[in-house]
Symmetry: C2
Subunit: 368 residues, 2 copies
């Protein structure tokens, strides 16, 4: 991808952060951390790919021999990073350990599989294993202008999918069938992959992490549609809208307005210096006052970037002050059953407030 | 999903296996192991979902409060398994540790993220952490009749995608544009998700794990198309075909025939009792004899089921005897550059030989 999005200076920033954290090295397997540092979009598999970034000395990327050409074709190639290919019958964990030499503490990618983490534990006896996440967190948690642009493009792409959703919400179609159309549209509108598709109709709308089922849509249903994907840039989209097929239940209409106001109030609470939890409280207070406090049983949001869920989390207890460049979802929900609703936009903290990256209408869209 | 595919007796089998392995429990986070044991198709996220299967006593599934309804709607609900929901501000790792009590050794899902594995390490001081994979491996490595049926359905679905590929391989289209069409077709032909799409054209065909790039297809290109997805059943597809746009280079035509013969020879080596590595040797020998040994630098195959890569691996050094019900890819490749080729089918070991689950033509398809 563009060097603006994955600037060459990142490796040096990470080396400094490793040193400040008092670690000897971080070991980054494929996933968001590796991509953040190098731009290399590799897939985590049973064969080890691992970027070793030591506090002192040169970094090296260990790759399976059959992925050497893919690594050479990636942004890694221009970075001066040493590439070390291992053969099918070699032990890459031992190779990394020999490269590290005597080390006291190393940090592992948060998403490294246990099958690799325990192999490193065995290959590095006496070494303290920590997570690399806290090392990279201060870098990743605020987005550069190029990252915000990439998130804005992702937001526009998922908005274009939501614009098509009302046409698919027809009585007689199953959630699963709607889900396939959503997935196809996520790709057609410019994402490289589909991350999740929730089409929660009728009573399923009261289940926040429902995905899709064989339930057939019917007139009178409320449908929560929460969808997202990853763009070729590596950056993610995530947006929820709630739809009604024909006239919704009377109670629903009442609390949907409460939800809309709560989501707006939470967005309006976003500004530099405000603690993350104040955004959660701003969403929760009006919902609680309206008597639906128990029906809003998840946090208000999560950070987004190269992962669809990352720091900062917008949750009670997180007093971290918001800073310009932080990007996260604002997604209160009300799930009293036998229906429910959620509205979700991604927002970015600006110098004096916030900007929404999703523009699909938040007024209830009634179809059919 | 059907109880035939995810039978209720699995939990008991796993408990027995935990006991035989000398572990106190296995801790299974969302992924193939959890799905194998319970049929529950949850997504691994930063909020912990964890099935605790102790050697003695009742199993329990810890879920985030907001996923409780999803878990209740899953096959877990009829299993008698205890469901324990944790609230956003609780510590689920501590809750699991208290449930376990004093334990000596527990096994973690192979794909559990390090961020959870290290939390369990800290919550269970003095407990030896191992992998759950070896406990579940003997169960998962041979497929039941229902699993073979699910894999056959997956194979037929990806065959239907390959049948459409020649129509998309037109000069002027980019690999990325072809990849989007392939992804859409993977979904349209019945998969629930796209796992990977490799469209490797021209010189990229010599890079086995190339994905897609902005390279534009041209007449005379050879194109390796290696694609797969996961069906609603949970079972995966994976098949590779190599195509030519117009007349391919003369050298290519020569080694493609060698490759076709090698792939057939490897399949013909599949029978109960044959060591896994003998299938690799059967593919490698004719390629080496033809002078392309150095250009075939990956193993011949990998098991497939709820994961697209799982045991058994068809690689030198794996002397494990094949048994009926084992399912794996047979996918030799020749990559001399500036082009390359691979042919991949999934096969299942039968009582007296093997059955192919992919039927797309293996003769070179020349398009355009």
């Amino acid at each position: 991808m563009t060097s603006e999005l994955y600037p060459a200076g990142r490796l040096g920033q990470v080396r400094d952060a490793v040193r400040s954290a008092g670690l000897d090295a971080v070991l980054l397997t494929p996933g968001p951390d590796l991509r953040y540092v190098t731009g290399y979009d590799a897939t985590q598999l049973e064969r080890l790919t691992c970027l070793v970034v030591p506090a002192q000395g040169g970094a090296a990327l260990f790759v399976p021999r059959l992925e050497l050409a893919a690594a050479q074709a990636s942004p890694v190639s221009g970075s001066g990073l040493e590439l070390i290919a291992w053969q099918e019958t070699e032990d890459p964990f031992g190779m990394v350990a020999r490269r590290l030499g005597q080390v006291t503490a190393v940090g592992l990618s948060d998403r490294m599989w246990a099958m690799s983490a325990l192999r490193f534990r065995d290959a590095l006896p006496g070494t303290r294993l920590e997570l690399a996440g806290p090392v990279l967190r201060p870098l990743r948690i605020t987005k550069t202008a190029a990252e915000v642009t990439a998130l804005r493009e992702a937001g526009a792409a998922i908005d274009r999918v939501h614009a098509q959703v009302p046409g698919w919400l027809r009585p007689g179609l199953s959630e699963r069938a709607v889900g396939v159309r959503v997935s196809e549209a996520i790709l057609a509108e410019g994402h490289a992959s589909v991350d999740f598709v929730i089409v929660a109709s009728g009573p399923n709308a009261a289940s926040p992490h429902h995905e899709v089922s064989d339930r057939v849509l019917a007139a009178g249903d409320v449908v929560v549609v929460d969808i997202g994907g990853t763009m070729p840039s590596g950056y993610c989209s995530d947006s929820t809208r709630t739809y009604a097929i024909g006239e919704p239940p009377a109670e629903f209409t009442g609390y949907y307005t409460v939800l809309q106001d709560a989501q707006q109030a939470a967005c309006d609470a976003v500004r530099p210096g405000a603690p993350a939890e104040s955004v959660d409280a701003a969403a929760r207070d009006p919902i609680t006052r309206a008597g639906y406090g128990d029906a809003f049983f998840h946090r208000t949001g999560h950070g987004i970037g190269l992962e669809s869920h990352e720091d900062p989390y917008i949750v009670a207890g997180n007093g971290e002050p918001l800073r310009p460049g932080m990007a996260f979802s604002v997604e209160p929900g009300i799930y009293p059953g036998p229906h429910g609703a959620r509205i979700e936009d991604i927002v970015v903290v600006t110098e004096d407030g916030y900007q929404r990256l999703n523009q699909a209408p938040r007024d209830l869209v009634v179809t059919g």
